[in-house]
């Protein structure tokens, strides 16, 4: 899948801009604070309907304006052309059109356009809390199958409903103090969470098993040496089954008024050279691992879908030493790449097109 053309209206620091990409590599070059990341953000917004910087939609609308418009012309490998248009409003209600047809639910856009993003913020995948790594896994599951988005949101909703119920009855800290009706209600929430949460755990475990060799390979390509990378996704609840785990933690859940076990509490433990990445790996190793996670996901989505997503690399070169930067550029996956840099590109990079970005204007040369 290739983005041929992107048009922005009142998006971030762009009043109006039009950009043509090549099917190969397009470099966005410009000084700090000119709009390189903003452009990448607009493009990837159409794939996920959210900012990869984790900010709310109203931040994306140009200061002083009510709405922003992002429009992209996309070409699929079978030659199909798709025009995607999103109107962002300050209330957070996005209006989305595909080929001029309004989508009833904006989320039906997921899967129409696919991107893989790496940005400096991805260091949080290694350094941040378990939630960062859960989001990484869950985003990847949605990327390989858009329908996973439904299950992901179901798990989230069941946990929130169960927590709301626990809070309502939480003053009864002993399960035997619950009325028959309360026990029955909690039982059915447990059953539903065990069913859907259990499936989500299986999906994550399967994904981790698929990703591990791909991450190892991507890391090796970047570091130009064999480096053991290990993943452990083994939450306790998966060993005994979520139904039993929920039963076992019922008293604790009642006391705390929240669900203390389940997929919403999991972590993915990662190690480099046999040592935990979060606490032991060097800054450069952590960056390399974060990038390897993205590149591996990119490959997995490519293999699953049969064609590569658009690879967006924001400021990746400033993150790596010259050898690793060169290694990245020589092992660049096939497909369309959009790469930003504030300090020009090394000579090993051969972009097909260079766009210069200055104060929200794009010039081609």
């Amino acid at each position: 899948m290739i983005v041929e053309h992107l048009e922005l209206t009142n998006f971030r620091n762009y009043a109006a801009a039009e950009v043509h990409f090549t099917p190969g590599t397009t470099a966005l070059i410009g000084a700090n604070g000119q709009g390189k990341t903003n452009l990448a953000e607009a493009l990837t917004f159409l794939a996920t309907l959210e900012s990869f910087r984790g900010v709310p939609v109203d931040v994306l609308i140009r200061n002083g304006e009510d709405t922003a418009i992002v429009r992209a012309q996309v070409r699929h490998p079978d030659g199909r052309e798709v025009l995607i248009e999103a109107e962002l409003t300050r209330t957070g209600r996005n209006r989305v059109q595909v080929n001029k047809q309004r989508l009833v639910r904006a989320r039906d856009l997921l899967g129409v356009m696919r991107t893989t993003v790496f940005s400096p913020g991805d260091l949080a995948l290694i350094q941040g809390g378990p939630g960062e790594r859960r989001r990484f896994l869950d985003d990847a599951l949605v990327a390989v199958a858009a329908r996973n988005d439904t299950m992901r949101r179901e798990v989230d909703r069941i946990v929130r409903q169960r927590n709301a119920f626990l809070k309502q009855i939480g003053w009864k800290t002993n399960p035997s103090a619950l009325s028959g009706d309360e026990t029955l209600t909690l039982d059915v929430w447990d059953e539903k969470l065990a069913e859907v949460g259990g499936q989500w755990g299986d999906a994550r475990a399967h994904l981790v098993a698929q990703l591990q060799p791909m991450v190892t390979r991507a890391y090796e390509d970047l570091a130009t040496q064999v480096t053991p990378i290990d993943f452990v996704y083994e939450p306790e609840w998966r060993r005994i089954g979520l139904a039993r785990a929920l039963a076992a933690s019922r008293a604790e859940d009642l006391r705390r008024g929240l669900t203390t076990t389940g997929p919403h509490r999991d972590d993915l433990e990662m190690s480099v050279n046999g040592l935990p990445a979060r606490t032991h790996a060097s800054q450069g190793e952590q960056r390399t691992l974060a990038l390897a996670l993205r590149l591996a996901t990119h490959r997995l989505v490519t293999d699953t879908m049969g064609s590569p997503p658009v690879l967006v690399l924001d400021d990746v070169l400033s993150e790596l030493d010259p050898d690793r930067a060169t290694a990245l550029l020589t092992h660049m996956p096939k497909g369309q790449v959009i790469i930003t840099s504030a300090s020009g590109l090394p000579t090993t990079a051969h972009p097909d097109r260079i766009l210069h970005i200055a104060a929200g204007t794009v010039t081609n040369n």
């Binding site: 439904t150 069941i158 409903q161 119920f165 029955l184 039982d187 059915v188 539903k192």
Partner: protein, 201 residues
């Protein structure tokens, strides 16, 4: 810091509390009403008041009714041994359109949703339980929405009825997940009804 005078703002606020009406639409409807002829507005207000006064819930099944009982409950040709449980009265209309179901209904007036403060006691579940024996119901078909809350309500009912000698079934798959029953087309809904499966706990 409303730009409207208090009466206009009050109207906008009231309209905004209606289901499916956001702040923008509330504003648009309010301004439309203020521009409309006096008698048109009076007619609308009257229609609301009269409907609210005359229409009530069926005493037995909680469908919309204008007598004590709704037309379905009084229709002797309906199969009394089959009871279809739905969340809202509008779901009855959707199911009736399929022409597949000839039994009677029971409206819960919602689904279990702790976040909205709705538990089994807030729903017409006790009323459902008291209907089963006198009406010699053999099968309860749970047609709550294909959402988390609809599913959990169905599971709750299956457990609550498990001690009785009654078959509890759930409407089949094929319905768009996460949606409302009323959004499914007649064919899909009809098929889902015919493809119902037994719920056990």
């Amino acid at each position: 810091m409303s730009a409207y005078t208090p009466p206009v703002q009050a109207l906008i606020d009231e309209l905004g509390r209606l289901p499916g009406v956001g702040p923008k639409s509330a504003q648009r409807i309010a301004l439309h009403l203020l521009k409309a002829e006096d008698h048109d507005v009076a007619r609308l207000a009257e229609a609301i008041v009269i409907a609210k006064k005359r229409v009530r819930f069926c005493e037995r099944c909680f469908n919309i009714a204008d007598e004590n009982l709704c037309p379905i409950c009084t229709d002797t040709r309906r199969e009394g041994s089959m009871l279809c449980v739905v969340e809202e009265a509008r779901d009855i209309i959707a199911i009736e359109k399929t022409g597949v179901f000839r039994g009677r209904y029971h409206v819960l007036l919602g689904a279990i949703s702790p976040m909205d403060g709705i538990g089994p006691e807030q729903l017409k579940i006790r009323e459902l339980l008291t209907r089963l024996e006198p009406e010699t119901v053999r099968e309860v078909i749970v047609c709550t929405n294909p959402t988390i809350e609809g599913d959990v309500t169905a599971m709750y009912l299956a457990r609550a009825l498990s001690t009785l000698d009654i078959k509890v079934t759930r409407i089949g798959t094929g319905l768009p997940v996460g949606g409302d029953l009323e959004y499914a087309d007649e064919l899909t809904l009809g098929r889902a009804l015919e493809g119902r499966h037994e719920l056990r706990d």
